[in-house]
Homo-oligomer: 266 residues x 2
């Protein structure tokens, strides 16, 4: 994971952990991308005009595995663009924008579009309809075509300083995180009712023994994101479950185990 640039301006510098973080495993860029693209049905297409100029336009999509399936009219500018040149990319932004928009997660999926083959047409059509139910009104119109974006390259930006690329292979092999889209209630519960457990996690497993305050800022299949306040400043760390979980239903027992392990290490 590379930094595109340094800390923003006069923001305070981030203190390092004082001990090893027990488990830093978190979703890969490919997993983050698969999760983000599955979280909404709207994005922005970049296509090429007949002059080779880049054309940004709003689109809706469904997903055939991780490949966006578009349904656009030949009479619309981006429909003509795709028919003229298949090079394309799609940007998707996390639906719940932060107050600071550059803190939002977003991805670019780049590649080329193809009309679905005869063998995959029915699945591509259904994938679009599953993602965009209103498409039932026009999906079979003669002036509309389905296009599948064959993803060749993925760029993920998780917010300030969190960014990475993923290959087509990694993107295809990854699956959307089953916990992230459903974790909001559990995160609130942890922050409201289990501050002591989060504090123990940050102080032991998280590598920040001088943590004075802690907030859980995210949960995924591998563990919890923690924002810790220390006398040295604010930092982010992780608390990893004993093993990855496969559904939101497993989150409670995974965090109970985390809390027990963190207290035992105190």
């Amino acid at each position: 994971m590379a930094l595109d640039h340094g800390d923003p301006g006069d923001a305070p510098s981030v203190p390092p952990p004082l001990a090893d973080i027990a488990d830093t495993t978190r979703p890969s860029a490919a997993e983050e991308a698969r999760t983000l693209v599955a979280s909404t049905n709207i994005g922005t297409l970049a296509s090429l005009t007949p002059d080779g100029d880049p054309w940004a336009s709003f689109i809706t999509y469904g997903l055939l595995d991780g490949s966006p399936v578009l349904c656009v009219s030949h009479m619309a500018e981006h429909g003509r663009n795709l028919a003229g040149n298949p090079r394309a990319s799609i940007a998707v932004v996390t639906p719940n924008a932060e107050a600071d928009p550059l803190a939002s997660a977003r991805i670019t999926l780049a590649g080329h579009v193809e009309k679905p083959s005869e063998a995959e047409y029915a699945a591509a059509r259904q994938a679009h309809l599953d993602g965009v139910p209103a498409a039932k009104y026009y999906v079979d119109y003669g002036d509309f075509s389905l296009w599948v974006l064959r993803v060749e390259r993925v760029r993920w930006v998780g917010g300030y300083g969190r960014m990475d690329s993923a290959s087509a292979e990694a993107y295809a092999a990854a699956s959307p995180d089953p916990v992230i889209p459903k974790a909001a209630g559990a995160i609130d519960h942890l922050n409201n009712d289990h501050r002591d457990s989060l504090l123990a996690m940050a102080q032991t497993l998280g590598g920040f023994p001088d943590t004075t305050e802690v907030t859980c800022t995210g949960a995924d299949r591998y563990g919890l994101d923690l924002r810790v306040t220390t006398p040295r400043g604010v930092a982010y760390t992780r608390a990893g479950y004993a093993s990855p979980i496969n559904s939101i239903d497993e989150l409670r027992s995974a965090t109970v185990e985390l809390a027990r392990r963190a207290r035992a290490a105190h």
Copy 2:
């Protein structure tokens, strides 16, 4: 105003008015575009990679008159793209997406980017900061540049079947509508407390004497958008003020005058 395609699928067909609509004036595509671009600070940039491929990426912007001002890092892919080729476009979607995303208004502003000249640098920098306050942390970093999109062509889509283009000149000459962004409360008030007045407007000024139900769906500097239900089906019409208004404070007296005129015509 052209239709890109016909009525969506099995949606009911739209009945025509039975009398002239007194005043069909509504914001032009250029005005709609200026209003939409001023309503948010986030969009998607389409730029060109070194291979000439289209690259869609999330951006934030401020506005120098109607020209988006970006602040991007040379180390980010889109920053390198703009430095390599100035051709660019930006898509902006209305922030409050409808349940059916294709019913949302959106625009594409296409042209090329330039670094602001020395004479306009301070204004461009301030425009970006006004639009994106968090940019204060990085706007003066050495790896960030300001870019002004010189708009050459505008494409506006207002939802299903409402779409138009605007020239660079029309876009530059237009101004954001002063009523649209602040009208939600007044529209609720009209719909909740003045149904009889809206009904009179639809039946007389709106050209649908057989209106049985009506909802105000929008208000701008020129008049009200009305959705009318008739025994023949659902349609949309307008009720235009006696003269354009310049602020939300004038909306009440303009609609009182509209109601009086509609009742007099009964």
